[in-house]
Symmetry: C2
Subunit: 405 residues, 2 copies
Amino acid sequence: MSLGPIAPPPRLLMGPGPATADPRVLRAMSAQLVGQFDPAMTRTMDETMALYRQVFATTNEHTFLVDGTSRAGIEAALVSLLEPGDRVLVPVFGRFGHLLVEIAERCRAEVHTVEAPWGEVVEAEAVEEAVRRVRPRLLAVVQGDTSTTMLQPLAGIGEVCRAHDVLLYCDATASLGGNPFETDAWGVDAATAGLQKCLGGPSGSAPVTLSPAAVGVIEARKHVEAGIRDPDDLARGTRIASNYLDLAQVMDYWGPRRLNHHTEATTMLYGARECARLLVEEGVEQAVARHRLHGAAMLAGVRGMGLEVFGDVTHKMSNVVAVHVPPGVDADGARAAMLADFGIEIGTSFGPLHGRVWRIGTMGHNARTDAVLTTLACLEQVLRAVGAPVTAGGGVGAAREVYAA
Amino acid sequence: MSLGPIAPPPRLLMGPGPATADPRVLRAMSAQLVGQFDPAMTRTMDETMALYRQVFATTNEHTFLVDGTSRAGIEAALVSLLEPGDRVLVPVFGRFGHLLVEIAERCRAEVHTVEAPWGEVVEAEAVEEAVRRVRPRLLAVVQGDTSTTMLQPLAGIGEVCRAHDVLLYCDATASLGGNPFETDAWGVDAATAGLQKCLGGPSGSAPVTLSPAAVGVIEARKHVEAGIRDPDDLARGTRIASNYLDLAQVMDYWGPRRLNHHTEATTMLYGARECARLLVEEGVEQAVARHRLHGAAMLAGVRGMGLEVFGDVTHKMSNVVAVHVPPGVDADGARAAMLADFGIEIGTSFGPLHGRVWRIGTMGHNARTDAVLTTLACLEQVLRAVGAPVTAGGGVGAAREVYAA
């Protein structure tokens, strides 16, 4: 076997993520390494922490990266916060709610759910009722569940959690940077994300922020590992079940003690820093507004083409829309045609929605007019080619109207 | 705060790793993303699996990447192989043996050790005696412990494990690509590594290979997660305590079923593929020989300068040497001078060796004549400047003799 260097085909990634990365992020990731404790490295880590405080809208000191995909961030938060037997409440309104349940169960927590049908969000009243009944230590919720495109309102849930002294964890992977997220204002104790959605980077690094209350819970379980512990590093509380995802140790690595844990993934750090730097340079509010504009254009466009939108659109994330596959159309065949003939990727969904909806994203670097209009133009051609009813020019025309308004 | 793009200072990383990355690996990592299930993506994943089979010297089908640093690979192997209460035997001869103990304990295994003093390796006879006594399910061992530079011989341990029906796991993070590693010939059931040592890449991706026996153990514990499971996905055995590091699910993502788990860290995948591609292009044996040559030159060089080498040199890894800090020299001050005045990083060590030895690496892209000679030339100047006794020209001269031979 003789292989050449990587040469990926040109793609416009308009699915539910990963989206096409911002070329500036990829350039940052080609920078050469420095040593793990080089002053240039620790300064870069500190800068990255400061940038993500702005992204998460928080003053939390403990705002840093977990070296893994967004799912690593979720598990790090849950395994560090939850002790075996702790009660957790999870509002479930799509696949990623199920993922929180799954991970919390593996932490040996006692997991309770409050569910909404796919395509809807959970009412704050239902959450409050469940909190009163379950009396959880932690409420874990997805902000934007890409499987259904729904965006769960969090301000009300934050109030409920504060009123009942419940820690609040949010998975903001799919939504952060493209929809409002207010860690401090909403009373979120722990939030995690990924780079591959609205932040314009590749998967593989999970930004996380922890409130002082969350830090207190985690620090109370600190066990510095053998081989690097000092005599005065007394083990405390129930040891966290993971070493890699032990946020007590990860905080000691990112914090002033700089205690060695993993070897920071320098290239992913460079990428994560650049994602946040570009977002802060644009302005987080401006980026959210940009996602709102292009998401509205895509929504109008798919409707203008004659497609029906899935779910409660008033609670949709800005950055992704799910459309029903027209009757008689082979859902995966049409996606394959988009990819093969136009180099454009759109998504399917999971479980009950697989083959029933397409998910079309407008996120990160691809929340742009040309990306929206090109996708609509090409989707019209694909639908036309398979004989689906489609309004000629209706998609692009409707999107243009949004931009003109 | 207004920050510019990342602009790391030029460094020659001659510590125990990360080493300076091969620029070709960094270029590969600047390639644009493709979608998670794009045919170009799945082909790249398959190519990467095939390349790492050559790197690990194995025919194991299940040879793939864990999305995290080398420590994530270690934990993935241990948490997937070990059930609570399983007996594990860990030969400990440095910090990273303690890390295996630590991680296995967090898996709630019953951990036993057989120890050697730092600077030595563990005798196969001592391992066999411990295996007979403990009757472990798994033996977990570090091949090259960078904390001491020792390279544990594994062929004999593999024989012991086969004779006693014990699974063998090896952490080859620091050694793979720069020292012989024979997964199949030695009877290794699971091995994991990282990119940042002899493979010439950045930290953040953990290659792993699993024997059919290891796969059998892991598959017997498969629980496909809610939200994506089919009705015939029956839960089996004791659920693996981590979701992110659940190798049963990771194998279903890398395998023909392509069952969604995490979103593969595409940029790290590109980097991992390029690391292995370059190694295979050079030839794994040739790369090992190159590390042997430059390691020998560095060893001769530090001795030629008048420095004393730490530990049992007959069992040293090719790619790193530990030298005693001369009496009266400030160990960290000298390292800081190397960095500030010459842009060269050399390492300290952990625990009992911190401040007592420097660790000097010759690995990956930096296993090169110019890197070795430059490091020796500059270290001589740093030692001279602090008044340490040093043989003028002795380091470079001794290294040159190795190259001339």
